[in-house]
């Protein structure tokens, strides 16, 4: 009998009472193992299983798995492992049979991955997850079940970390842990080997601090991690883990944002960015992560090398003030922006636009606007390039950002060259071409050329271009010629800009394509470009055809003369065109040498000139010849930008027409649509393909309507449009149908963050609009109701008037001698005392030069009544239902006699103030404000400074109602802006409010007042700095406390009821204005 048989026989009885298959599997496994194990081992193995069965009621299940597992173990498995397995199984079974079942079931497969040495460790991991309850048991079981999957991807050490993570998570939610465990093999499988450990480490931190994010992390973490450059992933995760350790809020959010941001940064730059962030981390982990998150935005402005300087500055702030530093790296501090601006080499049009506008205006003497080139392209009127400078005759368009160079100065110089070139086109008359005006340098050929019969050109320049069969070539040459003329004029007139211009010309030359590879005619044009860039030394041309080239050059160079006009450009274009047409547009076969041109002395040039067209004969315009390669325009010159004289002249003409039309006259040569279409189709300046997509008909229609809109012409003939319905792209009728919306102008203001001790740049958007008009009843009623008060106020203010002239006495010089001092003088003289010479008096005119702005708080809180404050609703309670019920009861009480609300008092006070101010004649403005959130601070104009008081104002007062929140800071800042625009000597800002600034996001949370109060106070301080006297008038006793903080050393006054207002007003006003 075999050993196995003996064992089976011996132990059969122990299987009594257990299911039959158990014995069967015992038997089969013994037989399977018999060849592998020695008899002793086999017996030991059998004993292991039998012991398992005896442990507990259900332990036979684990024994069953034990028997199954044995034969499944690899043949080479050492005996130790069998023993160990039995030991672990026994141990686990003692804790939980199902756990042991899972363990044993996946053990054979798992062992193939981890090898026998790690068996104990693996078992330990599971045990660690098991806490004695069924949920932990099932998690641990799941862990064992996942063994084969898991270890086919990760190593045991990783698993240890994973277990740590799961364990941590399981303390909060077993479900979450189970879910993560389920996805673990797949998630970790997607990561590269080296990243797994840090990934898990961060996971552990995350689980400890904000476990709820773990699922997100497992679901979305991997692609995020992969956005980070491989070699620094670990450091990134370590950093993120630090945030998790230091703070518990929104850890994953930071991780996600920063990873996203890194994805936008060049992989090579990840290292430096993370290194800088690591330096920040000890001070504030938030700052470190924000630094990474904002890195792409910052790097847009500064070079990676300069990032350290920016970070270093912030680090300094961070070291002294954590909040300040965090705001800095959140990009919510003005200081941060300033530093960034200083470091940044690039020049943004939005920052220099105003300077350039005045600069261009100075140069041209016209009202030039400056806009981004993209604006012009959007208009759809022929310009398509969003990057290149151009002008449409009234506006200069420039690229939005200039970052050609590493230095800010150089970039600005480049923008200036761009601007100067465009301005010079206007200054030196590029667009004032007149066909019939003679040129100054050439003998005019224009009249000698036969114009096409029946042509009816719209503009002068169009008429000129009509002369040419090849319009593209003509347009290119004209562009080069005019560019030459303008550049020379700039060099001559603006010596200071010469250097920058020359530099750009040089750089442009370096960018030119290789001449000798071009077909001949194109090479000719290309050479002209080089000459125009002052690069005569860069010419390459076949020596055999030297004549044409040198003639061309001499023609072009004449345009550099001081007296050259735009008509000379035209004449030069004619000659150059003729020369170009005489050259075949074919490639040279390489027989001839391309050479630089020999030096040409001036005399020979002059001589050549006389040859050209000098004979005065009718000029022949060449036609394209057989065998020509199709002509292609030369590469554009960057700093000269787009040049479209035809379109500009057309626009100018349309504008003129529009103006005439407005004046009620019809210009005799009003353009017809056909003319426009014709121009559009033939002009070389408009690339219809790129202009707009769609069929030509619609495009033409669109183009025309855009053009007309731009020029301000109302509409074309209506029937011309009816036979060709405009496409749905057209916005034709819609604009007119909409109701007249109030015009809203948006202004941006900084906001003071007292924690960071810095401004948040352009934080609040103030939207200014005229207040709706209601009825003038309120105004009239108030006047009637307070007739006595009004009269009293008026009288009080009238009394202030005579004081405008004041007699000043005891002056050493004045209108006349004053009697009393004169007598004293006499006495002094007689008694031998040295007399005072101050014996004159003078009437001094006191100029009342006062501007006063009233700012009415229109927040919802002004809806409260004033009289019964004791019943006031406690606004710290946020429950809207309570509020409503409170309000309803209150309302019911009030129906009989409506109580005064704060806003009513404000309005009544305003009416009285108006009466007073109209009496005294000071300049004043009345504004209301409310809004919700920082993006929506509403600022209503009741009466602007330059507006006359009248019916409109009265009607607007009616519409002053409580609306929403109170963000006082930006409203005050806007009022300051309004006041600064007046040129009064004395400027006063009166804030009429209930004294409680409050808004969404105006502080850490709804109940925090600190932030709002500090910001308001700062705004009032700004007013003082501007030389404006701020004054707060509150109609609420409860508001007293806030006002005390906000108006520390500024005036404030509490007015309990309107009756006391007229009494107070004149005194108040006098103290403010004198």
């Amino acid at each position: 009998m075999s050993i196995a048989g003996g064992l089976i026989a011996r132990n059969r009885s122990r299987f009594d009472g257990f299911p039959e298959p158990l014995l069967e599997s015992y038997e089969s496994s013994l037989r399977a193992l018999e060849p592998r194990l020695t008899p002793t081992q086999l017996e030991a193995w059998s004993r292991g299983g039998l012991d398992l069965m005896a442990i507990s009621l259900r332990s036979w299940e684990s024994a069953a798995e034990y028997f199954k597992a044995g034969p499944q173990l690899a043949e080479s498995t050492p005996w130790d492992t069998y023993e160990q397995l039995a030991r672990e199984a026994g141990d686990l079974t003692e804790q939980s049979a199902p756990l042991a079942v899972s363990f044993l079931r996946s053990a054979p497969a798992t062992l193939t991955h981890i090898g026998p040495n790690h068996l104990a460790q693996w078992a330990d991991f599971g045990r660690r997850l098991y806490k004695g309850n069924w949920k932990s048991s099932s998690l641990a079981a799941q862990f064992y079940d996942a063994g084969p999957d898991l270890f086919s991807t990760i190593r045991v050490s990783h698993a240890g970390r994973l277990v740590l993570f799961l364990d941590e998570l399981a303390r909060h939610s077993y479900e979450l842990a189970a879910a993560c465990l389920t996805s673990a093999p797949e998630v970790l499988g997607r990561l590269e080997g080296g990243d797994r450990m840090p990934f898990l480490t961060f996971g552990v931190e995350l689980a400890q601090t904000s476990w709820a994010d773990s699922r997100l992390y497992f679901d979305r973490g991997v692609p995020l991690i992969q956005r980070v450059h491989g070699p620094v992933r670990e450091r990134y995760l370590t950093l993120a883990a630090q945030v998790a350790r230091d703070h518990s809020r929104s850890v994953f959010q930071y991780f996600e944002d920063a990873a996203h941001a890194l994805g936008e940064v060049e992989p090579d730059d990840h290292g430096p960015v993370i290194e800088l962030a690591e330096q920040l981390a000890p001070h504030s982990a938030y700052a470190a992560m924000d630094f990474i998150s904002n890195a792409p935005e910052v790097l847009e402005k500064v070079h990676i090398d300069e990032l350290a300087a920016w970070q270093n500055h912030g680090l300094g702030i961070l070291a002294s003030s954590k909040e300040g530093g965090e705001a800095y790296f959140r990009l919510q501090s003005s200081r941060g922006e300033e530093v960034l601006d200083t470091l940044s080499a690039r020049v943004e049009l939005s920052k220099v636009g105003d300077v350039l506008r005045l600069y261009a205006k100075a140069l041209t003497g016209r009202n030039i606007s400056i806009h981004a080139a993209a604006v012009l392209a959007e208009k759809g009127i022929g310009w398509v390039d969003e990057e290149r400078a151009s002008t449409d005759g009234t506006t200069i368009y420039l690229p939005e950002v200039m970052e050609l160079y590493r230095e800010k100065d150089e970039n600005f110089a480049a923008v200036k060259v761009f601007t100067t070139h465009q301005a010079a086109r206007l200054e030196f008359g590029s667009f004032t071409f007149s066909f019939d005006r003679p040129s100054t340098l050439f003998e005019d050929l224009r009249p000698t050329i036969q114009e096409a019969p029946g042509a009816n050109p719209t503009t002068e320049i169009e008429r000129f271009f009509d002369l040419f069969p090849d319009r593209t070539l003509a347009s290119d040459i004209h562009k080069i010629a005019e560019g030459t003329r303008i550049d020379s004029a700039i060099t001559r007139n603006y010596a200071g800009i010469r250097r920058a211009l020359t530099r750009m010309q040089r750089e442009e030359l370096a960018r030119r394509p290789e001449v000798s590879e071009l077909p001949l005619r194109q090479a000719f044009v290309e050479n002209l470009v080089r000459v125009s860039l002052d690069g005569t030394d860069a010419l390459r041309w076949p020596a055999a055809q030297q004549d044409a080239m040198s003639n061309g050059i001499s023609v072009l160079q004449r345009l550099s003369e001081e007296s050259a006009s735009v008509e000379d450009t035209a004449e030069a274009t004619l000659r150059l065109y003729q020369l170009a047409m005489s050259i075949k547009n074919e490639r040279e076969e390489g027989e001839e040498e391309w050479d630089s041109l020999p030096d040409m002395d001036q005399e020979s040039l002059q001589l050549d000139m006389s040859d050209l067209g000098g004979e005065g004969a009718a000029m022949e315009m060449g036609e394209a010849q057989e065998g020509d390669v199709e002509y292609e325009s030369p590469q554009d010159i960057d700093f000269r930008g787009d040049f479209k004289p035809e379109l500009v002249q057309l626009l100018m003409k349309l504008r003129d027409d529009a103006e005439l039309g407005d004046a009620g006259q019809i210009s005799p040569d009003q353009l017809t649509e056909e003319q426009l279409k014709e121009l559009l189709e033939k002009s070389a300046e408009i690339d219809l393909d790129t202009l707009l997509e769609g069929d030509l008909q619609n495009t033409t229609g669109m183009f025309l309507s855009n053009l007309l809109k731009e020029a301000g012409t109302p509409t074309l003939d209506s029937d011309a449009q009816s036979d060709q319905p405009l496409s749905d792209l057209s916005t034709g009728g819609e604009e007119g149908e909409e109701p007249l919306a109030p015009i809203v102008t948006t202004y941006y203001y900084d906001e003071w963050d007292f924690r960071a001790q810095d401004y948040k740049p352009r934080w609040c958007a103030v939207k200014e609009a005229d207040l709706e008009e209601g009825e003038d009843d309120f105004y009239e009623d108030t006047l009637k109701e307070y007739a006595a008060l009004v009269a009293q106020t008026r009288k009080q203010f009238e009394l202030m008037k005579p004081e405008l002239f004041r007699k000043i006495k005891k002056l050493s010089d004045g209108e006349d001698i004053e009697l009393d001092p004169a007598i004293e003088w006499m006495i002094d003289i007689r008694t031998g005392v040295s007399p005072s010479d101050k014996v004159y008096w003078r009437r001094n005119k006191v100029d009342r030069d006062v501007a006063i702005a009233f700012l009415l708080d229109m927040s919802a809180s002004t809806d409260e009544e004033i009289a019964r404050r004791d019943q006031q609703y406690d606004d710290s309670d946020d429950d809207p239902r309570k509020y409503l019920s409170w309000w309803v009861t209150k309302r019911r009480q009030e129906l009989a006699a409506p109580p005064k609300r704060i806003i009513d008092l404000e309005k009544e006070a305003t009416v009285l103030l108006i009466t007073a101010l109209e009496t005294i004649g000071d300049d004043y403005g009345i504004y209301g404000f409310s809004g919700y959130g920082r993006d929506n601070v509403e600022f209503y104009v009741l009466k602007d400074f330059d507006e006359q008081f009248g019916e409109t104002t009265k009607k607007r007062i009616d519409k002053v109602t409580p609306i929403r929140s109170t963000r006082m800071g930006p409203a005050i800042r806007h009022a300051i802006h309004k006041l600064s625009e007046t040129d009064a000597k004395v400027r006063i800002l009166v804030l009429l409010s209930d004294g409680r600034p409050q808004d969404h996001g105006y502080g850490r949370d709804r109940t925090e007042k600190e932030y709002a109060i500090h910001d308001t106070k700062q705004a009032l301080n700004e007013a003082k700095r501007e030389g404006i006297t701020p004054f707060a008038l509150t109609v609420d006793r409860a508001g007293h406390d806030y006002l005390k903080t906000m108006c520390e050393d500024m005036g404030y006054e509490v007015v309990g009821d309107i009756e006391s207002l007229p009494r107070r007003l004149p005194a108040l006003y006098r103290s403010l204005t004198e």
Binding site: V355, L358, G496, R498, R499, I817, M826, R842
Partner: protein
């Protein structure tokens, strides 16, 4: 240049040597004709375009001493001998009595002293009231009877009326640009004068003036004149007043003394014109475009 002191300053204005003046149009003939007919003259034009220089020049040309009233201040102490003409420091508090005269206290009582206008009326001088709108409104009481057929100066405090001597001519100047609408000249006043309009000279003329007055060579003064022209384009757009020829001359003098042109233009034009940083920057850009 004369040292400080009122009397000496007055001496300076008795135009003995021919002042440099480059005629821009027919203003000289006009003025001469007006003078012969004793028609009062109003000179209109922006600051520093040469109004004062023109009157000085005309005063020299017509061979008479000139009374210059610009700035109000102390009355002359000395009433003896040949009439010293007084320069008074000007401000908006210039009253009628500053022009006519006033009583001074003396050991034995009061003593009347003639104001500059009274002196001019009595001696028959050309009397130039610079920036007349700045003065108080009560001065019109004096100007009106002097500038019509009556040619009388009432001295209220003395109860006298002085008839203007034959050579007397009133010339006033007025800058419509920067004064506010409030300070506009009243029609009843302005319609008593013929009005000669002054504008900035053309680029070439201005270059000649700058060159003459500052001593810089013509090439530099052309650039300065160009700068002036460009900067004047900014009037009403950030600048309330264009750059005066005077300022350009100052810049020219600095250049003549060896100051680098860009720097000279900066202190002489850019900073002198405005405190608005944005506008300064724009002018600065024009300067750096024009000067190397």
């Amino acid at each position: 240049m004369a040292p400080g002191g009122l009397v000496l300053a007055a001496e300076e204005f008795t135009v003995r040597e021919e002042p440099y003046y480059l005629p821009l149009g027919d203003e000289i003939e006009l003025f001469e004709a007006a003078f012969e007919q004793r028609i009062p003259v109003l000179l209109k034009g922006p600051t520093g375009c040469g109004k004062t220089r023109f009157v000085e020049y005309m005063s020299w040309r017509l061979g008479r001493p000139m009374t210059h009233i610009s700035q109000g201040g102390e009355a002359p102490l000395d009433d003896e001998g040949p009439r010293p003409f007084v320069t008074v420091a000007c401000h908006e508090d210039l009253t009628a009595s500053d022009l006519v005269g006033r009583y001074l206290l003396d050991t034995d009582g009061t003593r009347w002293i003639d104001g500059p206008l009274t002196r001019a009326v009595k001696t028959g001088a050309i009397c130039y009231l610079d920036e007349v709108v700045e003065a108080r409104k009560d001065t019109t009481v004096l100007i009106h009877p002097l500038t019509d057929y009556r040619r009388l100066l009432p001295i209220e405090k003395l109860g006298q009326v002085v008839e203007a001597a034959d050579g007397f001519l009133l010339v006033i100047s007025y800058n419509p640009g920067y004064q506010s609408a409030l300070k506009d000249l009243k029609h009843s006043t302005r319609q008593r004068f013929i009005s000669v309009e002054f504008t900035y000279p053309t680029r070439e003329q201005e270059a000649e003036i700058i060159s003459h007055e500052s001593g810089v060579d013509l090439a530099v003064s052309i650039e300065l004149a160009k700068l002036g022209e460009k900067v004047r384009n900014l009037k009403e757009h950030g600048l309330s007043e264009g750059v005066s020829t005077r300022l350009l001359i100052y810049a020219g003098r600095l250049i003549e003394r060896g100051i680098e042109p860009r720097r000279a233009a900066q202190v002489g034009v850019t900073w002198a014109l405005t405190d608005d940083l944005e506008v300064q920057r724009s002018i600065e850009e024009v300067v750096t475009s024009i000067f190397e």
